[in-house]
């Protein structure tokens, strides 16, 4: 399975430059997720790899081959589209076969591959139906099957799950993950859904405004976001980002929030020691807070805040506390959440070494 390299990619539509000098490499067998909000250029990047959009400047390599100017069908790729894009007048079998017979494979080989894909995706009973007779999940399976039969080295997915309901999406997520583990192709997967990214990817590239904000493993992206955009984009409920200033007390670095509360920051691994008084943003993940009422001896910050409301999401619950002008979200045990009352003041602690710090002006990680 080959690696994929984007080298100095530029994409311009007339005078508007969408992507400027973008570099990205995917190792073979990797599951790369391009993650970002709508209009961040992730689909453009995928389409350029697929050959559906021209590259203005730069080079795309698949393995050792320069595919920048190759026809889509000669690139050794297969793609799954957001709207499934099944051929409406063909049966499921016809949909799977079309790409293979177009590639002039022997009849026996075509039959073998179609049967294999049907079995892998458990769509054997549907083979003679037309797409209009299938449900959304079944169509998605067929669309994936159509990509699998080509035995392509690189599989591309363009938001394949966004048209499915929540339950099916979870199922298909596992299914795609399982296929990747079994067949181990190189995958480039575009989505705006961070859960899909976190659960399936081996590498995530977070994009915004045509620029890759951070490239790394899901853990790296989640634990050490490179800037404020990544910090606020990844995580649900989102990371609490609160403005503060750097102070030094007895030689120890601490942060003072605008509301006067302090947070000890001497465990934080600064890239460069920040000067006193520098405006920063402190990022705190909701799940890192010590639950209300738990021992707070080693906490970096202890906050007494009134509870605004709680939100139950099945296996989890989130409490929202009033903090300055905004809210502070923290994860609470669902059983505990039921006992909390709105308006009640709660004492919560934030542990040492868990905070993420960003420069308030540039948004970059400190």
């Amino acid at each position: 399975m080959p690696s994929v390299h984007f080298e100095h990619i530029v994409k311009a539509y007339g005078a508007v430059t969408v992507l400027d000098d973008l570099n990205l490499s995917v190792d073979d067998g990797d599951f790369l997720v391009l993650l970002g909000p709508s209009g961040c250029g992730k689909t453009t990047l995928l389409n350029m790899l697929a050959g559906l959009t021209d590259v203005t400047d730069g080079r795309i390599m698949i393995g050792e081959r320069d595919v920048t100017d190759l026809d889509p069908k000669d690139r050794g790729l297969a793609m799954v589209f957001q709207s499934y894009a099944l051929y409406p007048t063909k049966t499921v079998r016809g949909n799977l076969k079309f790409g293979l017979s177009a590639a002039k494979l022997p009849r026996e080989e075509v039959r073998r591959r179609v049967e294999w894909a049907a079995q892998v995706l458990q769509i054997e009973p549907l083979m003679d139906r037309r797409p209009s007779q299938l449900s959304g999940g079944q169509r998605q399976r067929v669309a994936i099957g159509r990509a699998l039969v080509k035995h392509a080295d690189v599989l591309l997915f363009d938001e394949p799950l966004s048209n499915l309901d929540a339950k099916l999406r979870t199922e298909m997520r596992l299914e795609i993950k399982r296929l990747h583990d079994e067949l181990n192709p190189t995958v480039v997967y575009v989505t705006h859904d961070q859960i899909e990214a976190m659960t399936m990817a081996t590498k995530i590239a977070v994009m915004n405004g045509g620029v890759i904000q951070q490239f790394g493993t899901p853990d790296e992206i989640y634990e050490t976001p490179a800037n404020l955009f990544v910090a606020s984009f990844i995580g649900a409920p989102a990371m609490n980002l609160k403005a503060a200033r750097v102070t030094k007390r007895d030689g120890r670095v601490a942060g003072v929030f605008d509301g006067g509360q302090t947070i000890a920051l001497d465990d934080y691994r600064f890239r460069a020691t920040p000067e006193e008084g520098r405006p920063i943003v402190v990022g705190m993940r909701p799940e890192h807070f010590a639950p209300p009422g738990a021992p707070l001896d080693a906490a970096a910050a202890t906050l007494d805040l009134p509870l605004q409301h709680t939100e139950r999401t099945g296996s989890d619950a989130t409490g929202y506390l009033k903090f300055d002008d905004g809210l502070l979200a923290l994860r609470v045990e669902p059983g505990h959440a039921a006992r909390l009352r709105a308006g009640e003041t709660v004492r919560v602690g934030f542990p040492r070494g868990k905070a993420n710090l960003f420069d308030a002006a540039s948004g970059e990680r400190l």
Binding site: L77, L86, T89, G99, A102, R146
Partner: protein, 312 residues
């Protein structure tokens, strides 16, 4: 009609919501009111406008000349006879040949078939290329097509005659068919192009990644999706070609003239008595084929639209 009643019901519903909800159902089922009565009267008048002449033509064609001379054009025939129809089909004179309308009928068929094949296949592929592939100067080309669609035949008639003559097809069946095909190309291409433009881009992208062959994608993916628009264009083009007179009379030679020209020659006799019954029968015979096409294919047309074949 439907629109009217819907808006009215909606307006009535909102107005009545403030009053008693019980009155709502009764209001909805109310029968005629002023507005729908006016619409009905108007539609009846329209229908009569077409039906009365048709009635006269039909009854006259079934009468004998004796009866026609009595001058009661609205009366039903005393003796019903198909003699005029037989005569019009087999024996009526057009110019100096007296072989009836059947000559013109078969000429029309022989013009229709090649012109249909030529115009539809060309327009289809051109529309497909313009809509779904990146064609250089596609915008300019479309604009030109659009202009061409509005050029009347009369303007380019003389050059066209010269061209067809130099090609050696002037006065032949093929010549008439080719001129028909050329004249209808712009509109048909635009129709196909607009239809194909609505095919989801992702289906086309998938096909390009699967095969990338212009003709293979056309034949296996796009053509099977074109059923509805084919029927629309077929109806349009059959009516167009069959009912044409000007191209037929200009480009058709002796004995290669279509049915309409044949009919006109038959009706405009300068000697002898005018046989109204034969004229009427001939006119009906000429008008029947497009009607038959409407009734046969029109059903598929409506069914195709309501089935929503693009879904999925």
């Amino acid at each position: 009609m439907t629109d009217l009643t819907v808006t009215e019901a909606a307006a009535g519903a909102t107005a009545l919501k403030r009053r008693r909800p019980a009155a709502r159902t009764r209001r909805r089922h109310r029968g005629l009111n002023g507005r729908s009565l006016a619409v009905l009267v108007f539609l009846t008048m329209c229908a009569l406008f077409f039906c009365v002449p048709l009635y006269v033509v039909l009854t006259t064609s079934l009468k004998t000349m004796e009866e026609i001379r009595q001058g009661q054009i609205f009366a039903l025939p005393d003796t019903w006879t198909l003699e005029a129809w037989r005569f019009a089909w087999n024996e009526a004179c057009s110019g100096i040949t007296c072989e009836g309308l059947k000559v013109g009928f078969w000429n029309s068929v022989r013009i229709l078939v090649p012109s249909l094949i030529l115009s539809i296949s060309l327009a289809m592929v051109t529309g497909y290329a313009l809509a779904l592939w990146e064609v250089k100067w596609a915008g300019t080309f479309l604009f030109l097509l659009f202009l061409c669609a509005f050029v009347p035949l009369q303007i380019i008639m003389f050059p066209l005659i010269a061209i067809t003559r130099s090609m050696g097809v002037y006065g032949t069946i093929l010549g008439v068919a080719v001129v028909h095909a050329v004249m209808s190309m712009p509109v048909l291409t635009l129709i196909f192009r607009n239809y194909y433009k609505d095919i989801p881009a992702e289906i086309m992208n998938a096909a390009i990644m699967d095969s990338g062959s212009f003709w293979r994608i056309f034949g296996e993916i796009i053509l099977p999706m074109s059923g509805n628009i084919l029927i629309v264009v077929l109806i349009l083009q059959i009516t167009n070609v069959w009912n044409d007179y000007l191209i037929g009379v200009t480009f058709g030679g002796y004995n290669t003239q279509p049915m309409t020209v044949n009919l006109a020659n038959m009706v405009t006799v300068s000697t002898g008595t005018a046989s109204y019954n034969v004229d009427m029968a001939a006119a009906l015979l000429t008008a029947i084929p497009p009607l038959v096409v409407y009734f046969l294919v029109g059903k598929f047309f409506v069914a195709g639209i309501t089935a929503g074949a693009i879904k999925g």
